[in-house]
């Protein structure tokens, strides 16, 4: 099961995890990454059509690189309080290395390619060079 969602509502980690962990008897590893709002309330703007198109493309890319049994990408938008979950990446595979690498790849990619913009109390958040560097290591 491979799924992308862009939504204002929170997601249910346990439910999303369950959906992947029960995909079959050959699932050996399920990894979740949750990014959450640090330190200040954020407003997330996004470019809906491009975001969904690009997130589906990167999921296809991840499937071509690693033997995944399932993966879920959820990105939220709108006003998000401190501690609120922003993004969920879930990967399921027979082996942990594939699940770990795919989850890192998907997160690095989301940071540098998914068209979302955060605004905090002091204005628009600046992009970080470290995110570009993290993304560059995958050679995309």
């Amino acid at each position: 099961m491979f799924r992308v969602s862009i939504q204002a509502e929170p997601f249910d980690l346990a439910e999303e995890h369950w959906a992947l962990s029960t995909l079959g008897s050959d699932i050996g590893a399920v990894i979740s990454f949750v990014g959450q709002v640090r330190d200040e309330v954020l407003e997330l703007e996004h470019y809906p059509a491009m975001a969904i198109r690009q997130m589906e493309a990167v999921l296809a890319d991840a499937r071509a690189r690693w033997p995944l049994k399932g993966a879920t990408l959820i990105h939220r938008y709108g006003r998000l309080e401190v501690g609120a979950p922003i993004v969920l990446v879930l990967t399921a595979s027979s082996h942990r290395q594939a699940a770990f690498e795919a989850a890192e790849f998907l997160m690095d990619w989301l940071k540098t390619r998914a068209p979302f913009w955060k605004r905090g109390a002091d204005g628009w958040v600046e992009a970080k060079a470290s995110d570009d560097a993290a993304s560059a290591r995958w050679g995309t």
Binding site: Y47, M50, Q54, H75, L110, T112, F116, W117, G123, D131
Partner: protein
């Protein structure tokens, strides 16, 4: 006789704020590039000029794919201009 389909511009984050609109449509005189289109757009208003002045702080997408400044723009394209993304 109708002319060619216009190009749809989309702006996000502080680019949108400085220009003052989320979207606008422009007619092309002929085939152009993203960079040349931005040069034209910058003359539309002080807000456009301020938003589009420093290209090193901007990114572009044509038809929802990231592109460079020399990428072709043709009639009917959806062209988005925005700061480097900060999602995730």
């Amino acid at each position: 006789m109708t002319g060619p389909e216009p190009v749809t511009l989309l702006y996000f984050a502080w680019v949108r704020e400085r220009i003052g609109v989320q979207t606008e449509q422009v007619a092309l005189a002929g085939p152009t590039t993203v960079g040349a289109l931005l040069d034209d757009l910058a003359e539309r208003s002080a807000g456009h000029a301020a938003a589009l002045a420093d290209r090193s702080r901007l990114r572009a997408a044509v038809n929802q794919d990231f592109v460079g400044w020399d990428h072709a723009v043709t009639s009917g394209d959806e062209v988005a201009i925005f700061p480097p993304v900060t999602g995730g």
